[in-house]
């Protein structure tokens, strides 16, 4: 009992973290049909900026309550700035290009931003542990849990809900879905697709950054810590179905729980299992478990 509860909770925490990051990735793919490797940069920059902000707050002994707004703001800031730059100056020039070229371009962008981090923030690791420390821990089924990590689950649920609401209940969301469904038609219907793209990309970027920013307090923010995450979130997105939001949710749950179980039972399979599932899903359901609807083209 305790064992399964633990595995579940570990998995859930990890899944929440994956979900926030891969949600941005999947939305960007769904709308723009772009597989954005540079998503890792959003994550890393979000983390660094948040770490930086937290540093400022603690150094000046500002009230600890500021931590959370600071985290949120740095995510938004990073998302808007990086998102806009990349969309405006790289991707917009490539929309009609071959999809593989675009992936490669984002790979290039990723490499560049990796090093820009070192130039901007230096190589010393940042340890913005204060928020996590502030919340302390609670005992769940006889096991201490960092409260901060648990709030990650909360954040993920909030993001998931607002995302669902935004897409299904608001005008903007409907707009977005029509673009996802068929770009040409929507353009013909007079939707300003370029505008939709910018907003989407920035939105996705903010989510990526938020993932990083929120995880920052639980880890040592050091150069190159986004590399593994990029491909991991790819796995999540592919498993769930590229461009599908419920897919991202299910995908991250599957990956999170599987990994948790592997670490507890057979640590050696930890990495293997995730990608094995990715491959299997692609083989039996190439479109992913939750493939978004596709416009039929004759």
């Amino acid at each position: 009992m305790q064992f399964w509860a633990t595995v579940f909770l570990d998995g859930l925490t990890y899944a929440s973290y994956l979900f926030i990051v891969s949600l941005g990735l999947t939305i960007i793919f769904g709308v723009m049909k772009i597989l954005n490797v540079a998503h890792g940069s959003f994550y890393a920059w979000g983390a660094y900026t948040a770490a930086f902000a937290i540093g400022i707050i603690t150094d000046n002994d500002l009230p600890e309550a500021l931590f959370f707004p600071a985290i949120l703001l740095s995510a938004i800031l990073v998302g808007i700035v990086l998102g806009y730059i990349i969309e405006r100056f790289i991707l917009r020039k490539m929309y009609n290009q071959d999809i593989h070229l675009i992936v490669l371009a984002t790979f290039g962008v990723f490499l560049i931003f990796e090093d820009l981090i070192i130039i901007t923030f230096g190589v010393d690791p940042y340890l913005p542990y204060q928020p996590a420390m502030m919340l302390g821990w609670v005992d769940i089924v006889g096991l201490n849990r960092g409260v901060y990590q648990l709030t990650l689950i909360l954040l993920a649920s909030v993001v998931a809900f607002s995302c669902w609401y935004g897409l299904t209940k608001t005008k903007w969301g409907k707009l977005l879905q029509s673009v996802i469904y068929d770009r040409e038609i929507s353009e013909a219907m007079g939707i300003n697709v370029t505008k939709v793209y910018v907003v989407t990309f920035i939105g996705g970027a903010i989510l990526g950054a938020l993932g990083g920013a929120y995880v920052a307090p639980t880890t040592s923010v050091s150069p190159g810590f986004a590399i593994d995450l990029v491909v991991l979130s790819f796995a999540v997105v592919v498993i769930g179905g590229m461009g599908s939001i419920p897919g991202a949710l299910i995908g991250s749950l599957i990956v999170g729980l599987l990994r948790a179980f592997a670490v507890h039972q057979a640590p050696i399979l930890e990495l293997f299992v995730v990608f094995a599932v990715m491959a299997i899903v692609l083989i039996i359901r190439p479109e992913g478990l939750f493939a978004p609807p596709k416009a039929r083209k004759i």
Binding site: V37, K93, A105, L111, V123, V231, F234, F272, L282
Partner: protein, 320 residues
Amino acid sequence: MFTGIFKDTSVRVLIVFMISLCFISSFILPDWMQNNFMYGLSRGLAILGLMLLWRTNLVSFGHALYYGFGAYAVALCQKYFGITDILLRFTIAVAAAGILGFFLGFILRKYREIFFAMLSLAFSMVLYGLLAKAEFLGSTDGMSISPSTLFGLELTRQYLFFLITFFVICAAVSIQAYLRSTLGHLTTAIQDNEIRVEFLGFSVQKAIHIKYVISACLAGGAGGLMAASLGQVDPDSMVNWNVSGELVFITIMSGSGNILAPFIGAIIFEFIRTYAFEWAPQAWAAIVGGTLLTIIFFFPGGIWSIIEKVFNYGKKKDVK
């Protein structure tokens, strides 16, 4: 298959280029450059393989799977059977990758575009997951590889380089033979119109499968030679996803114009890497990324298109 292959301009240029490369690098250029040529030519084989797929508009974001598989095949054969003969090493690497490619091909030949890319990525990461964690495979340390021999004799770097060049020539020439064949043209035709190919009476999937296995063999051979010339294999520099990305990058950088392009591209990449690392050890990734963007935006045809402009060579002979 090979009848009159040596009348082919591309083949002649390739051979002359390779031989003169051997010449200048052993008599004119400083020794260290030989390493870069060696790595460049070895990796070039993998690029050649990706180029083939690219001509059918298939881009594999997991070709490091075969690259690494070939390399580890060499490493394991040394560890367990003490095989160090370069000919054996090359054959083993090619065969191992070929077999793997043959089986995965049955699945992958059904896939196109991003799904093909993603599934290949998944397969390569499965291998990575195993190698990085399995202690008997050296986990993230990988394994070191002793210098190659030939018929029991120690090989100097010099001769290793010559042999690699020789392998490369053989491989490239056979690829040219393949490209000028009906089958070769067919695969470019597939990219153009699959339905027609089916109604001309040839199975599209079969054609793609054949091509996939060929490119797997090339990537495997590349990995094998790389392992032999570097003396070390490890998952992060042989199998991880960013290695695949790097390979695709070099492919785009080289351009799909000609069988010589991949090798020139790969060699240039080696020099970029070396100098980026020497001049800016903390910003080499940015330099590589910058080059990548520059190529994509300003030279979509890759280096080969530049060479064509400069020498206005190869236009008519080009298969496309």
